[in-house]
Subunit: 292 residues, 2 copies
């Protein structure tokens, strides 16, 4: 297996994730060459101008066929389509990675790849409210957890190479089973998105007759609703491929919300206070300091 | 009625709100003198060192009895207690304001004041995750909406003086009936807090057996949970004085959440997509640009 320093890395999808990955690899000179693959020539031009890639192509087959490492950086549904599409085009022994938001469906697809391909699922725990290539930056992955899901069939050399790539962009590799990953991100990532959507829709419903509603929105609403502005197609893919864990999380949230309502209705303010104190302590423990 | 430039302004409570108000008034030389009133001498010392006030006292009676304008800057429960306590100590014709998070209970208490006092309820729509005097800053109110609730009995001179004070710290006065204010902030401020608490408690419940849960928390969880770390005593006062509008908002949120769950369970992805798109469009309309 080619060492990372000697490898050609092809990145399919030049959005926030793919663009930042190219920027990080190229600016740190972590590999021999970064090849960008995008549907639109304009994205490639931007990525070239910003020095995120060494060269680019709109031809998926051409882009992946010479690569030692291919990283799929599109939404989950497109990653699934690309895994099927490129399976016969990859170089024997090539490492195939992805940065998709859910891992069970993707790792199942990776398992069906020809034996010569070395698959390692991945999911970096970072992002921004605004997606797109122009938001990309070489430090996006710095100090972030980067979940890795090697398959049983994945060679130890391929695992090591994947880990080396993750470390080379400053991220912290964390190994997880796909199912465990999906259960955890349902609670910590997909649930916040659904609650943010719930907040926006609820406020809109409550404020229907009052044009002043939005003028009163301050920091609390701004922060709590932020991820509701995220990419809808990406979220739809997440919902489609992580339905059961998300449903489980939503039911738990509905129960918790129902308990708050019941306590407030019955005047059980002691229980509410304990709940608020527990949540505040948990949130403060998680994010020390004032700037978060 | 004394003009603002000639007025002595007493600020009772030197936390984030009171400290910032003093800082804004003093730094802009908006009034003759800013008197800080705090329970602890150490708070007064800090406020004096930071030049947020001209002088300070721990004696509430002494602090308010010579003031032309008194602004109560403590949590709602304490504001209610102070309104009762100081009613006989205020100078005839003095303007009494507050910055409490709910307005119906406070305006009812203001209505019971002696006729010589001129009351105007207030609520600036600003704040930070971290409270306290050390987080105070003279620009906290800049360009923020500052809700004003004059009473029927309030003279037009007193209303004008309140508005002048609000404008002098850079805020935008907005007149609202107390009940309307409370209904709107239940949706736009109190509901986010309760949903943030729900998120933290739900994630904790779901992650109980998995120590890795919190290590996967990224921007989505951080933003959506932020206000759960707010002041619990302040929130308890809010819940006690704005129970019905908050319950109404919580029920609406539970309904919205229930609809999302039902759609996901039945596989009605079209409706979910429409909901997500609506919420994303609303959120983006509200906060243009990428930095929010």
């Amino acid at each position: 297996m080619t060492a990372l320093a000697e490898a050609q890395v092809a990145i399919a999808g030049l959005g926030l994730m793919g663009g930042s990955l190219g920027a990080a690899l190229r600016s740190r000179q972590a590999c021999r060459e970064v090849v960008g693959i995008a549907r639109r020539q304009s994205s490639l031009n931007t990525a070239l101008t910003l020095q995120f890639v060494h060269r680019g192509t709109t031809d998926l087959r051409e882009g992946v066929s010479q690569a030692d490492i291919v990283v799929l950086c599109t939404p989950v549904g497109d990653i699934l389509a690309k895994i099927a599409a490129i399976s016969e085009w990859l170089k024997p022994g090539a490492l195939l990675m992805d940065v998709g938001s859910t891992k069970t469906a993707i790792c199942s697809a990776l398992a069906r790849l020809p034996a010569a391909v070395q698959p390692v699922g991945g999911h970096p725990m970072c992002g921004k409210e605004s997606s797109g290539l122009t938001m990309a930056e070489p430090d996006l992955y710095q100090d972030r957890v980067f979940v890795l899901c090697p398959l049983e069939r994945t060679s130890s050399e391929a695992r090591q190479l994947a880990e080396e790539l993750v470390r080379s962009v400053g991220a912290r590799p964390t190994y997880l089973e796909p199912e465990r990953h999906d259960r955890l991100v349902a609670a910590i990532s997909h649930l916040p998105a659904m609650l943010a959507t719930t907040l926006v829709q609820t406020a809109a419903a409550l404020g229907q007759d009052d044009p002043l509603l939005w003028t009163l929105a301050a920091g609390g609403f701004r922060d709590t609703s932020r991820v509701a502005a995220g990419s809808v197609p990406m979220m739809m893919d997440i919902l489609a491929t992580n339905r059961d864990p998300i449903l489980h999380a939503l039911h738990e949230a509905a129960d918790q919300l129902g308990e708050l309502i019941a306590c407030l209705e019955s005047g059980d303010m002691d229980t509410i206070q304990r709940t608020l104190e527990q949540a505040a302590a948990r949130r403060r423990r998680l994010y020390h300091g004032a700037a978060h």
